[in-house]
Each structure stands twice: as structure tokens, then as C-alpha cells.
Amino acid sequence: MLILEKRPSPSRFWQGATPVLAVALTMIAGGVMFAILGKNPFEAIRTIFWDPVFGEFAWYFRGQLLVKAGPLILIAVGLSLGFRAGIWNIGAEGQYIMGAIFGAAVGLAFYPASGWFIFPLMVLAGGFGGWLWAMIPAILRTKFRTNEILVSLLLVYVAQSILSSMALGALRNPEGGGFPGSRNLSQYPAAANPEIIAGSGMHWGVVAAFIAVIAAYVLLQRHILGFHIRLAGQAPRAARFAGVSPDRLVVLCMGISGALAGLAGLFEVSGPAGQISIDFASGYGFTAIIVAFLGRLNPLGILLAGLLMALTYVGGDNASTNLGLPSASIQAFQGMLLFFLLAVDLLSNYRIKFLLKERA
């Protein structure tokens, strides 16, 4: 029979090999699905994984991968800190929305003035908005022991209501002829977050994502707070003996993840999205949770996971337009990829042994 034996420490070989194996398995399973849908599986897989990076128009899509991956990575890095410490902020979507609203409101308040200080102020306001929204579950948990998973999740729906009321009311473009949606911030130079090098996809949000990855890496490896976070996650009781205050950790982790999600929202609303609209929220906050886990809560892993996730979005859209695949099949394909990545993860933590005789 087959048994699993826990490895004393995760296997380095399998940590590197499992993602490759998972992608390969997904290609096979996804290929079968595409074939059932009557499409050429090889063409579909090539369109999703190869063309955006090396295909004819890769010069355009490579930049778009960064645009798509930037917010995912920025949010996921923040979330991973809390997840490591056993603090479950699953309401990043709401914090992302609030960051965008706060940041956009500051920018719009200055319209049409110009000044170098406007965009930095918006960045501060965006981070503050996300932080503030995350503080609600944090304070409720520390003061009343209220479950932060639920509160942060419920606050997503509240944030979405606020978003539509802002798009229809306070932040509505007065020159928009009564239509919902704010002024387009990307067309207001003092508040815009354009590509730093045209066509590269690099906007300040992507830069912030890279900075966050490095900062989180340093924090976890070198800083006492990083040590506390890891300790609280692996051995809560030991952490308490070591003088780690759980409440302080909750406030810090929720605050950091909220602020980063808020920043992601701000960079998105002032750049790629351009405006506050009813449908501004597109699920980055939830997808980032998956990215955080795919990256094994490790900053560098998250960087790669975010890019891979972005690839399935960009490549998936290409496949669905060029080959006429329903977008639902791309969703299912992404689901499969996640399943396989999670499934093969087993190999890095456990050793599979074959036993000839059943043990008593």
C-alpha cells in the first residue's frame, strides 16, 4: 500500500519541481477539456502559455502581464504576512475598493489644479483608506474576539455598496451627463499613474509591488517582526512565551495587508482603470488570496505565482477571442491549475513510500 511520510524539512528539489509538474498536468487535463469543447488542444495551450510571452505580439502582452500581476502581487504579499501568523484577512477586495475611493477622492478634490504633491497625497490617502478598512476587523478582533474572516468578508459587500453610491453620487463626474462614474483620473495629469516607460506596462503600482516583495523578504528574513510572525504561525504558545503580543500582531498584519490592498486600488484607479465606476472592483482581492497560497506565502514565490496567474488571464483572454473558447472554460482551466498546484504540493512536504505488507 501507499503511505505518506512527513519530511523533516520540505524537499528543495520538489519545491522547485512541483509548479512545473502542476503546469504540465494542467496542460493535459485542460487539453482534454478543450478537445471536448471541439477545439485544438495544442493550439489552445500554446495561445495561453506561449503566445503572450513569446508570440507575435509579445511586445504588447508582456507589459500587460505586469499590469495584471502588479495588483495581485501587491495585495498577496500583504496578505501572506497575516496568513503566516494565522490571521485571516480575506476581505482584501474591500480594502482595495476603499483605497481606490479614498485616493480618487483626494485627487478629484484638487481637480483641475496641478501640482507635484497631488499624486503622492493620493498614494497616502489610498494606503490610508485600505488600512482604515482593515482596522475594523482588526479592532473588533482584538477588542471583542470577533472572527476576522467573517468581518473582513462582510465588509467587502459594504465597500461595494459604498463604491456604487460614490460612482452614482459624491464622486460622479459633473460633466458626465448624468452617467455614473467619476472623472477619468488617467486623463488628469497631476493625478494620473501612467506607464513609466510607454508600452512597458510598468506603472507605479508595479514598482510598488516589486518593492513590497523585497521589503517582505527582508522583513521575514531579517527583522524581529518577521520572526514573530513566523513564530506565531508555527507555534502560537511558544510565541506567547517569547513575548509576542497576539493583539499587536493582528493590528500590524491586518494594517499592512489593508494598506497594501488600498495602494493596489489607488494605483489601479489612477492608472489602468482610470476612474471610479460601479464595476471598478474586479476580484483582485480574492484572486490575491489564491496567489498568496500558490506562492507558498513566500514573497518570491508570490512574485512568480502572480505572474503565472496573470499569464492565465491574459493568455486565457487571447485564447477565448482567437479560438472562440467560452470564457467559462478559461475559468475552469484556472481552477484546474490551482487544484494541481495544491495537489502536487504534497510532494515537497511528504515522502511517498510503498509498503508491500499491510501493517498491523
Binding site: K6, L140, V158, F293, L342
Partner: protein, 311 residues
Amino acid sequence: MELFGGINPAVLIASLMVAAVPILLAAIGELVVEKAGVLNLGVEGMMIMGAICGFVAAVESGSPLVGFIGGALGAAALSLIFAFLTQVLLANQVATGLALTLFGLGLSSLIGQGYVGIKPPLTGEVPFGPLADIPVIGTILFQHDWMVYASIAVIAAVWAVLRYTRTGLIIRAVGESHDAAHALGYKVIRIRVLAIMFGGAMAGLGGAYISLVRVPQWTDGITAGAGWIALAIVVFASWKPWRVLVGAYLFGGITVLQLNLQAAGARIPVEYLSMSPYLITILVLVIMSADKSRAALNAPAALGRNFHASR
């Protein structure tokens, strides 16, 4: 008997009972799953699989009953993916649950491609005869389709099983301490897999209720977030079956009430009212958890932790 501007409380209660059925079923299923120590965040994905499988089964067979069975089976089958990944391959439950939702939304849409714009067979009211004509009580209690009663029966059954039977004891033991349960000789993995499938089946029933009774039609994304609310209700209920009923009715009630207030012409800020169910749920959560002795104790101690029988 009027509350405000012509809102009849009896009818209000009757409609909230119907409105609450999907989240009620999904939440009671998830409660059992969590009692067994497993956190499955894929409720939305399972619900929508139940919605489409139930719809297809009902349309193809012409029978709503077959539809509900099909919905439960379809969602239970989907939940097996979660069970296999988390119980056998020991994958992280939070991430797997989210992936399950993503996969379920995609798959349901693929299955449903030929079923847009079709009317499913009608699920009838239970004929209570003259009982249905009793004022107030008749409206509240005796004018529903049979799934409304079935959902309440499921709550009662889960409550009784968890509280009074050996099965319930084993489920709770596994959820409190899988190591201790394992030491006592219980098959932790098998029990958890069965609990996950039960949760899937209930979510599927809830989804099928949406596509067969509440709406009734098939369209992509028909569950529109009901699965997430079901998750909230389980914690709101602090893992107690009857409180799931209260939570689901409260939540359904606030949604129905705000629409009724609008229809009655109350001058209320709609956009803020539409967030009120969430705010009130948070408020109740806070009040309940502030009483430190209760909520924390009810949470299954092994919730979300995977079990591996090491030597």
C-alpha cells in the same frame, strides 16, 4: 396589522422564509463540515453546480424532485475534488476552497450553455387545504413549497444527530481533536470526506432551489454570492444548527424588508440600506463574540487543520 405604509408582517415573514431557503441549506451543510474540523470556502462553487445540475436534471426528467436530487449529487461530486485535495493530498483548505469556487463557476457555465431561456417544471405548494386560509398563521406556515419545510427538517435533523447520536459525537470528536479521535480508532479522513460530501449535497440543494423555485431559470452566475453569505451565517450561528435558521431568516428578512420599504414608498437612502444586512450581521457577530464565554468555545478546535496520521 400593518407595520409601515402597508407592509403586512405575515407576508413579510412568509417571503423571508422562502428567501432564506438557499442560504439556510448551504449553511447547515457547511456547519456539519466545519463541525468535523474542515473549512470549505467553496460553498459558492458548489451551490452553482447544484443550481445547474438540478436545473438540467429537472428539465430533462420533467420532475422537480429528480432535479433536487440531481443538484445535490452534482454538488456532492464537486465537493469530492475538495475532499480528495484536502484530506488525501493534504492541500491548504482555504486556497482549495477558493479554487473550488472558481472551478465551479466555470464548469457550471459550460454545462449550462444549452439551457438558457428554458422554464423548469414547477415545484408545487404543499396542499394544506383549509389550513392555508387561516389568517396570519396560514400565510406564514401553510403556503409554501415543500422545500421550505424540508429545509427546516434538515436543520432539526442535523441538530438531533449532532446532539443525540453516536454519529454526531464522532463528528464533533473529529472536529475537536483529530489526533484524539484517531487514537480512539475513528477513521478521521473517512468521516471528514463524508461530512464534506454532505456539505456539498446541501449546498447543491440550496443552489437547485434558486434555479428551480426562486428564480426559476438558468443563467450564468445565478447564485450571485449566496454561498458567501452562507459561510457568514455559520459563524454568526456560532456552529449551532437552530441559530443557522435564525441567521438565515434574519439575513433574508433584512433583504426582503429593505425592498418592501422601498416598494411601500419609504424615503430611505437605498444605497445605504442595501449594505444594512452586512452591517447588522457584523453587529450581531460583535455582540455575540463580545460575550467571551460563548462563541470562542463553540468553534471546532481543529477547524481548518489537516490531519495526517503519522506513526
